[in-house]
């Protein structure tokens, strides 16, 4: 036996086929405890007797040790003598043995065919949900046109401030850097042919037709789309969406329409602003690196950039705004009612928005080419 009942300890005494294990000390789950295999030291007793007379304080740590010994005895065909154990300990040991035997892993695995089938059905289901949601939003906007006094203008103005004015700093920074990058990249090629001045054309056309709208949309997908998804997802988890439904108020009218309208209105304005800032960024590089004066840059740019370029950029911006708003709100309303569900909704909103933005951009490129715009 060990002397002081402080740390969990055990000693063994072998007599023939019998092994007596004497336990002592305080057995705490957060502290170390003796290992049965080390105590056994390769012996194969036919009977194991456990004495706990020297044990001070104990908890599940002692229970686990006894269970380990008991399990070893069962496997080795030895007799486990726990008669001397206190009643409480024997009861708990019985509970542990029962929970060990009755615990059956919950099988969530699926066969290959089941997985493919489920995934296919989910794609079909999600497609239907998107179509249904877009239909609901359209009806909501029709309702807005018919009964504008019933629209939640205050919420819409708040959202316009959030997704528009509050996004100006990040849109400014990104657009300025994109304009600079375009100018640097263009200069690399154009300088070889002595066409430095055409950097202005490149930057102007790229920002007006493409990059202004695209970069703004990507920034807003990450900033506003994710925020919409998280907000609505959290409202769903808190049963706030259910509360609206039971009041007979359409969550789309109440929550989605103001956000969608705000984004649709703000996106072209931000896009136009991003376009201007991007051109300034390109101008700054042209002036500092290529020695092209801003006036020369401006004059050259106007020879190629016309209103159709700006308008095509604005048309794209409106579309991208609708996509970001729809993706954010849809994913938020589809979110699982848990913290993980809200996180997944936010991620999914960004991915969905960027995917559809790129698809829409490609479609516009083809359409504008056919129309000769």
């Amino acid at each position: 036996m060990c002397a002081a009942p402080i740390a969990a300890c055990a000693s063994v005494e072998a007599a023939g086929d019998e092994l007596t294990v004497a336990l002592g000390g305080d057995w705490r789950i957060t502290g170390p405890r003796p290992a049965w295999e080390e105590l056994r030291a390769g012996r194969e007793p036919q009977r194991v007797t456990v004495r706990v007379g020297g044990v001070g304080k104990w908890d599940s740590s002692l229970l686990l040790f006894l269970f380990e010994v008991q399990q070893w005895c069962r496997m080795a065909g030895a007799y486990f003598d726990g008669e001397a154990l206190p009643e409480k300990l024997r009861t708990m040991l019985g509970q542990l043995a029962r929970s060990h035997e009755t615990s059956v892993p919950f099988d969530r695995s699926q066969s290959f065919m089941e997985t493919v089938g489920t995934a296919t059905l989910q794609i079909w289901q999600k497609g239907r949900e998107i179509a249904y949601f877009v239909g609901e939003c359209t009806l909501s906007l029709v309702k807005l046109a018919r009964q504008p006094h019933k629209f939640r203008w205050r919420d819409c103005l708040h959202e316009m401030q959030q997704c528009g004015a509050m996004a100006l700093p990040i849109v400014s920074l990104i657009s300025f850097l994109v304009g600079m990058t375009l100018a640097y990249t263009g200069a690399l090629v154009l300088r070889q042919y002595g066409g430095d001045i055409y950097v202005a054309d490149l930057v102007g056309v790229a920002m007006a037709r493409e990059m202004g709208a695209l970069m703004t949309a990507i920034v807003l997908a990450g900033r506003t789309g994710a925020a919409y998804a998280a907000h609505l997802g959290n409202m769903k988890a808190n049963e706030e969406i259910d509360a609206l439904s039971t009041l007979g108020i359409s969550p789309v009218d109440f929550l989605v329409a103001p956000r969608l309208l705000a984004l649709t209105l703000m996106m072209p304005l931000l896009s136009l602003y991003a376009c201007c800032v991007g051109i300034v960024g390109g101008m700054a590089v042209a002036w500092s690196v290529l020695d092209i004066l801003p006036v020369a840059f401006w004059v050259e740019m106007l020879t190629i950039v016309d209103l159709s370029d700006v308008l095509s950029g604005l048309v794209k911006a409106v579309t991208f705004g609708v996509i970001v708003g729809l993706a954010g709100c849809l994913r938020g309303l589809q979110a699982d009612r848990s913290a993980a569900g809200v996180g997944q909704a936010a991620t999914s909103a960004v991915v969905t928005a960027i995917l559809f933005i790129i698809v829409a951009d490609a479609v516009y490129a083809v359409v504008f080419d056919i129309l000769g715009i």
């Binding site: 789950i29 908890d59 686990l64 509970q95 919950f106 699982d336």
Partner: protein, 265 residues
């Protein structure tokens, strides 16, 4: 404050000693002040009172989520809130907390929820942790639900799983915040029985925040009653004694309704 003593005050160091504690929030909002009480080892101690009186605020101050505005909270004679992080971590091992919403981690199964404290604070191997987590879930009657996620079980089961997680490290003190809230009377009764079993098994000290009178009268050894208006303790003692002998209208109004409920068939 009114005090009803059922037995002689114990001379041992109290498990929890609250001395002159004031609780509140940023901006100078004081919810409770001058709180002094002791909880002894193995006691089932209830913090009771009407809604908004500061029960949960006091609990958050006891478990260190919020710092008291004044006073000290001592566990086994050791002040909790002024300890360095390493010492606090050691003390936290001796706590188990069941939150009002159960606060299970939604991305983990019930078994993983219970196993996490064991992985963090013990040197047990994976198999032992699984065994112990399964046992803890079995003790709260959740055999067969080990691999379910919190979103897949009912509110009562979440509470029991939260309790299993609170008990994972066999803590000396378990705090329960409104354990019966939102549960049906039968589930609530079973939870009360579970609390008694926990005390029976390890002589655990249980601090329960509740205003469920059925629970208070069936399992509480001693209660303190908080009052919103006076921002402090207005009664302390065994609940039946307080219900019988208290002359404070606020206490009798609160507790006598419980007697009528108990007498109901």
């Amino acid at each position: 404050m009114e005090t009803a003593a059922a037995s002689a005050q114990p001379t041992e160091v109290p498990t929890i000693a609250v001395e002159g504690v004031a609780c509140g929030y940023d901006g100078g909002l004081v919810v409770l002040k001058d709180l002094t009480f002791r909880v002894t080892r193995g006691e089932i101690f209830f913090i009771i009172g009407g809604s908004g009186c500061g029960k949960s605020t006091l609990l958050r101050n006891l478990i260190g989520i919020h710092q008291p505005l004044a006073g000290t909270v001592k566990f086994n004679g050791e002040p909790f809130q002024y300890h360095d992080p390493a010492a606090r971590r050691e003390m936290l091992k001796t706590f188990g907390v069941l939150y009002q919403s159960a606060a299970l981690w939604s991305s983990l199964t019930l078994r993983q929820n219970v196993a996490l404290p064991l992985e963090e604070y013990t040197a047990l191997n994976h198999r032992e942790i699984e065994e112990l987590a399964t046992l803890k879930l079995a003790q709260v009657g959740l055999t067969g639900f080990e691999d379910y996620y919190p979103a897949e079980i009912s509110g009562g089961m979440k509470k029991r799983a939260g309790l299993a997680r609170a008990l994972a490290l066999d803590p000396a003190i378990v705090f329960l915040d409104e354990p019966s809230a939102g549960l049906d009377p039968i589930t609530s009764r079973k939870l009360d029985e579970l609390v008694l079993q926990i005390r029976e098994m390890f002589n655990t000290t249980l601090v329960v925040v509740s205003h469920e009178l059925a629970s208070i009268f069936s399992i509480a050894d001693r209660v303190i009653m908080l009052d919103k208006a006076s921002k402090g303790i207005i009664a302390e003692g065994p609940p039946r004694l307080l219900a019988r002998e208290s002359r404070d209208a606020r206490v009798t109004e609160f507790l006598h309704r419980g007697d009528r409920l108990e007498a109901a068939p």
